[in-house]
């Protein structure tokens, strides 16, 4: 009888010790290896085009990424185009939705340019630019750093003298693209689902 009790006691004690050690280890791991913020938000943010244009109804790409992680539809990013919707669908394992945008003009890669002779130096565009791509000071001419401009066009509307234009992003003079080979009738058109691995 005592032997049996001893055996049971030793088993219970042994398992308790293991459970305790495991608990301590888990506690340590949850503190030591914790990730700041929602990792899903970062992966979503990495797929967004970072124009920070606010067309999705959120003040920037990261806030939209947070909203998507919270269940908002994935098709509200016009600058990203259908490609971004597809990639988001693939990441989140949800259905591909058609892009929620007016027309195809959103596909164009534009940058803002200030007509410098008309600029009155009001600084309103500088305040509107989400990526600090406009330099200038009060009552002095402003200009856009083209390499930093995301083409969000948030600076166009606040300008009181309408001196900001959106132009296609300037390309390097030696930029070129090979011509597209023809598709023959047996080729399947349209998208192949993006399912990696």
């Amino acid at each position: 009888m005592t032997d049996a009790l001893w055996t049971i006691g030793a088993g219970v004690a042994g398992l308790s010790v293991i459970a305790l050690l495991g608990g301590i280890l888990l506690q340590y791991a949850s503190k030591g290896f914790s990730v700041d913020g929602n990792p899903l938000v970062n992966s979503i943010d990495a797929l967004l085009p970072q124009t920070q244009c606010g067309q999705c109804g959120h003040p920037g790409c990261k806030p939209y990424a947070e909203a998507i992680a919270g269940g908002e539809p994935i098709n509200r990013c016009p600058p990203g185009g259908q490609d971004t919707v597809d990639r988001l669908a693939s990441l989140l394992g949800v259905d591909i939705l058609p892009l929620d945008a007016d027309d195809a003009t959103t596909e164009q890669d534009l940058v803002a340019i200030i007509i410098e002779k008309d600029c009155i130096g009001c600084t309103k565009c500088i305040q509107a630019c989400p990526v600090d791509a406009i330099v200038g000071a009060a009552k002095l001419m402003h200009t856009v750093i083209v390499d930093e401009c995301t083409g969000c066009d948030l600076c166009v509307e606040p300008c009181p003298v309408d001196c900001i234009d959106m132009i296609p992003r300037p390309k390097s003079p030696d930029y070129w693209m090979p011509t597209r080979p023809n598709i023959i009738s047996s080729d399947r058109c349209g998208q192949i689902g993006i399912q990696h691995g």
């Binding site: 943010d45 967004l48 085009p49 970072q50 124009t51 920070q52 920037g60 790409c61 990261k62 990639r87 989400p130 990526v131 600090d132 791509a133 930093e148 995301t150 390097s172 003079p173 030696d174 070129w176 693209m177 090979p178 011509t179 597209r180 080979p181 023809n182 598709i183 023959i184 047996s186 080729d187 399947r188 058109c189 349209g190 998208q191 192949i192 993006i194 990696h196 691995g197």
Partner: protein
């Protein structure tokens, strides 16, 4: 006598093909100089070395060797003949982009007016040599046009002279290695000694026995301190691809996404090294050897032509009327591109003009035979990548290894359905490059957006703190005033 050995390559190229080489067509004992053309065309942005800027203006008189274009990479292109700048206009260019681009047009005067650099005197260091390569406009003359000096970093172990010339029809390097062997070996030795490289490998395909003889006799006369390892490769396309040549001669597999230089190996075309040897003597690149070949030419041969000479001038040199041809392929049958306008000037990267009639049968559907995968030297699955690209899924093609494709077009050559696989891959690679660039810009924008948000937050917190201090002060003052009033009451 330099220390050397000749050996047969013990490694086999995986994949690859054995196309009809057709090299006998243009092989000649010597290499003729053709007369100067009526005008020379130098594209400002497409001469190799990145977008450039013109250093001369219309009506300027230039000497042979006067710098006329400065590229973003630093490379300077010089006038290949003395003459007068008659125009700077948008002109047809010899480039797969097939567009017009700003070009400098020079009318040669026929005068022997030379403006060369001062000869360098040994010993010189690597920096001196780099500057010289920049001033003399030394680019990879094999076809890619990569600025050579960028490969010359410290800590390199081996220099490989890429004399494989595996592409059919081409005999440019073959000719150069036979008639200009000494320059090539001198250029290679000087480069190696200034970079402290001990071993120079010369990789040639075994279909060039005359080259081997020429190299052997040149090495016997040379007094270089380097060790020359002459490697005879099996004739198979594409053994002259940089990373394949490194594997064949050294057994080093260059990792994906990196270049041979990152594995301690410099690979140069023989022409580049011969040009470097002349640049050390002060002569910038003004001429190059071009193979004129193809069944449609009356007298195929190799000629030495000034850079900028119009394509039509070269065709005339082979006793052929340019008007009898509708298009010409620049750069060989496998990786070349076709041009239809013969007024474009040749550049430093134009190694071959190929004129022949080819009937390419119409494309048919893929029958999944897998022939392309068998010959792919990079061990990719071309049929999978082309499905993805045709379906518009660049991501999937990249996942299949698109960025490792070397565009050798071996898959094109064996495809029974005549699918232009390599053209799709080239387009895909360009799109992938643009996409990577977009991602880089997006990362930068994200950083700036977050930095701005942090700044705005900090400013508003500072304002808040100041306001709190102000409010506390006001409250203090009020309290004091109230106390004072109470006391006085």
């Amino acid at each position: 006598m330099a220390d050397y050995q000749i050996r047969r390559c013990e490694r086999q190229l995986e994949g690859g093909i054995h196309p009809e080489t057709q090299k006998a067509l243009s092989t000649t004992d010597s290499c003729i100089f053709v007369g100067d053309p009526k005008r020379l065309v130098f594209p400002i942005h497409f001469s190799g070395g990145g977008p450039g800027e013109a250093l001369v203006a219309v009506a300027d008189i230039v000497s042979q060797g006067t710098p006329i274009i400065k590229c973003q990479s630093g490379i300077t292109h010089v006038a290949s003949r003395a003459g007068k700048v008659i125009d700077i206009i948008d002109h047809e260019i010899a480039h797969p982009a097939a567009t017009k681009s700003a070009s400098i047009i020079i009318e040669p005067s026929g005068l022997e007016d030379q403006n060369y650099l001062d000869p360098l005197v040994w010993p010189f260091d690597a920096d001196t040599l780099r500057n010289r390569a920049i001033e003399a406009g030394i680019l990879g003359l094999g076809g890619a046009g990569f600025p050579s000096f960028k490969k010359w970093s410290e800590g390199m172990q081996t220099l490989i002279i890429n004399g494989a010339e595996c592409q059919p029809y081409l005999t440019t390097d073959d000719t150069l290695m036979r008639i200009d062997t000494h320059s090539m070996i001198r250029g290679a030795s000087m480069l190696s000694q200034s970079l402290d490289i001990k071993t120079i490998i010369i990789g040639i395909e075994d279909n060039k026995p005359e080259v081997l003889e020429a190299i052997e006799s040149a090495l016997k006369e040379s007094c270089s301190d380097c060790f020359f390892d002459v490697v005879l490769l099996d004739t198979k396309y594409p053994s002259g691809s940089e990373r394949h040549l490194v594997w064949l001669t050294l057994g080093i597999e260059v990792p994906t996404g990196s270049h041979a230089v990152e594995s301690g190996v410099i690979v140069h075309n023989p022409g580049t090294l011969a040009a470097l040897s002349r640049a050390i003597d002060g002569k910038p690149i003004t001429d190059r050897i071009v193979t004129l070949t193809g069944e449609a030419l009356a007298a195929p041969q190799n000629i030495v032509v000034p850079i900028g000479a119009p394509i039509s001038h070269l065709i005339e040199a082979t006793d052929t009327n340019p008007e009898s041809l509708t298009s010409i392929t620049i750069g060989g049958p496998m990786m070349g591109y076709s041009v239809t306008n013969f007024t474009a000037g040749i550049t430093k990267t134009t190694n071959c003009l190929l004129a022949r009639e080819v009937d390419i049968p119409p494309e048919s559907p893929c029958i999944r035979c897998g022939a392309c995968a068998t010959v792919c030297p990079v061990r990719l699955q071309p049929q999978q990548m082309v499905f993805a690209l045709k379906g518009g899924s660049l991501d999937r093609a990249i996942h299949e290894g698109l960025t490792d494709c070397i565009e050798c077009a071996a898959c094109n050559a064996v495809c029974p359905s005549h699918i232009p696989l390599a053209e799709w891959f080239r387009l895909g690679r360009f799109e992938a490059r643009d996409k990577a660039n977009d991602q880089r810009l997006a990362a930068k924008a994200r950083e700036r957006f977050e930095a701005r948000n942090m700044r705005l937050k900090r400013i508003s917190l500072e304002k808040e703190a100041k306001r709190a201090v102000r409010q506390a002060k006001t409250a203090d003052a009020l309290e004091k005033a109230r106390k004072a009033r109470k006391e006085s009451a």
